[in-house]
């Protein structure tokens, strides 16, 4: 499609617009930690027999 320079600049400006600083940083940090916790909860729901070892291979 034919794109004017103005349209391209507008879409790039939206993508590049910085988020408000401190409050959002706190939210983002908390959200990132929450993601780790949510992942952990999902892992805890898996039936994991004691004998299952990690998927790693060591060889000299």
């Amino acid at each position: 499609m034919k794109l004017t320079r103005r349209q391209l600049a507008a879409s790039l400006a939206v993508a590049a617009a910085p988020a408000p600083a401190n409050a959002q940083n706190e939210d983002l940090d908390a959200a990132a930690r929450d993601r780790l916790k949510n992942n952990a909860n999902a892992l805890n729901a898996v039936n994991l027999p004691m004998a299952v070892e990690p998927a790693v291979v060591f060889r000299a």
């Binding site: 780790l36 952990a40 898996v46 790693v56």
Partner: protein, 476 residues
């Protein structure tokens, strides 16, 4: 200096190589043509991280000496290419797409670049990427030192990531092929969005030496190219044992699709819901046509389910653990705050808080996943899924949210976790353009067991023999 005709821009590797041998133009002329095109048009898509014009011309002159002496090295001889800017090229910046590493210079080439150099392929530039391959969890396409990757089919849309420049450069005919990487979707997504054939190889088949590590046990390097055939030729050149890569599988790859079983003998598993209810309405017709082509080739398409695991949580936990360790110095120094994407910064910081027990639990579940995947492939030869269930998103669309018009996820998950499952189990995937929707590319992916690349490529070759979607070009 001969004039190189414009039809080279979208020619395949064998086509270009034949024309070089026929002396229609020299390797130097071809390299100059592509390198100048990459310099001129790469910035239009934010695809170019660094031009290697002079280096390309020097390398091409050496190729011409070999060609003059009929010292032939194979189909990649004289073929220009680009690499994602996480691959080290000695003496020049390797930025990893990230401000903190903008001035980083390595003194040794990545193994993949060394191997391609040995074949006579000519490196013309470093291609843009999402900063640090996006492992921290980025929210916007602008998460890159070079700005958002813009799709050559529509520059208000994203080229996809994290191998943004690799996909866009091939799609726009700026390089005949490019090397990208995938940890979780970074080859499959941009290839699908840009309508480019691409291959995510089996884990360990291609050396990671000299490539930025995001996750040691998940990272793979693979080609973007004009066709499945081209991907096979490239993989043959870049695969192989490397003692410099602790994850190296120690296997070579020889592109021999002629020895693969024909498509009509293969059982291909798929989930209909992926192509209908879970897909954006506009792309469903393209998927239906692609299924029709596979059926006409004789493929036995069988409905199946993936083993039930929280693939996203498993992959994300493993990625967090490994990424946190790799980038601990960046995070501890505070330089992580120089990255462009704030959610990515937060994700990287949080990764240092991941308990070891969670990482180990994820790696144990990974073993279960690998076992169940093996059972799945005892029944089926190939898994078929959309590359993406939607066309490329708008450049300002949040990546962690569904784009407008996307249907709510159906209760039947289909093969929803196939990208994560495939990466956790080290499976190869071939992306094949299969149509257009709203004049944007649509693609399918074929996934196989480790080291089944020849089978996938053989299917791809047959599919592309019956379709021409891989030959469609954006309005450059």
């Amino acid at each position: 200096m001969a004039t190189v005709p414009e039809d080279v821009y979208f020619a395949t590797i064998p086509e270009l190589n034949a024309r070089l041998k026929a002396k229609e133009f020299s390797a130097e002329d071809l390299a100059r043509t592509f390198s100048e095109r990459l310099q001129r048009l790469g910035p239009r898509y934010n695809a170019l991280a660094l031009s290697l014009h002079q280096e390309a011309l020097r390398a091409a002159k050496e190729v011409d000496k070999d060609l003059k002496r009929e010292r032939y090295r194979g189909p990649l001889q004289g073929i220009p290419y680009g690499v994602k800017d996480l691959l080290a090229f000695a003496g020049q910046p390797t930025t990893w797409g990230a401000a903190p590493y903008a001035a980083q210079v390595f003194q040794k080439n990545a193994t993949v670049i060394e191997k391609l150099s040995a074949t006579g392929a000519v490196l013309t530039g470093k291609l843009s990427m999402v900063e640090l391959a996006g492992g921290g969890g980025y929210r916007f396409a602008s998460a890159s030192l070079t700005g958002p990757g813009l799709n050559p089919w529509d520059r208000t849309r994203w080229s996809g990531g994290s191998s943004s420049g690799s996909a866009a450069a091939v799609a726009a005919g700026l390089v005949p092929f490019a090397i990208g990487s995938e940890t979780s979707g970074s080859i499959v997504t941009p290839a699908s969005y840009c309508g480019v054939t691409a291959l995510r190889p089996s884990y360990g088949l291609v050396s990671r030496q000299g490539a930025m590590a995001l996750s040691w046990t998940l990272d793979k390097l693979g080609p973007f190219a004009r066709s499945a055939e081209d991907c096979g030729l490239i993989l043959q050149a870049i695969a192989g044992k490397d003692s410099g890569d602790p994850g190296s599988a120690g296997k070579s790859f020889y592109y021999t699709p002629q020895y693969s079983r024909p498509v009509k003998e293969l059982k291909i598993a798929y989930a209909p819901v992926d192509f209908i209810e879970a897909a954006e309405p506009g792309v469903r017709a393209a998927f239906a046509e692609a299924m029709g082509v596979l059926k006409s080739l004789g493929a036995q398409l069988t409905e199946a389910k993936l083993p039930d695991f929280p693939y996203g949580a498993v992959l994300s936990t493993i990625l967090s653990g490994e990424m946190g360790s790799i980038f601990e110095p960046l995070i501890a120094s505070g330089k992580v705050d120089q990255l462009a994407d704030k959610p990515q910064i937060a994700g990287l910081k949080a990764s240092l808080e991941l308990p070891a027990k969670d990482y180990l639990k994820a790696m144990r579940i990974r073993r279960l996943i690998q076992g169940e995947v093996s059972k799945l492939f005892a029944e089926y030869d190939v898994l078929l899924a959309p590359g993406r269930a939607n066309i490329a998103t708008k450049v300002d669309q949040r990546i962690d949210q569904a784009p407008p018009g996307m249907p709510a996820p159906p209760s039947n998950p289909g093969f929803r976790g196939i990208i994560q499952m495939g990466n956790l189990a080290g499976l190869p995937a071939l992306v094949l353009p299969c149509g257009l929707a709203e004049n944007m590319p649509v693609a399918i992916q074929l996934v196989g067991l480790p080291f089944s690349e020849n089978m996938l490529l053989a299917i791809g070759r047959e599919f592309q023999g019956k379709t021409d979607w891989h030959k469609r070009r954006p309005p450059v």
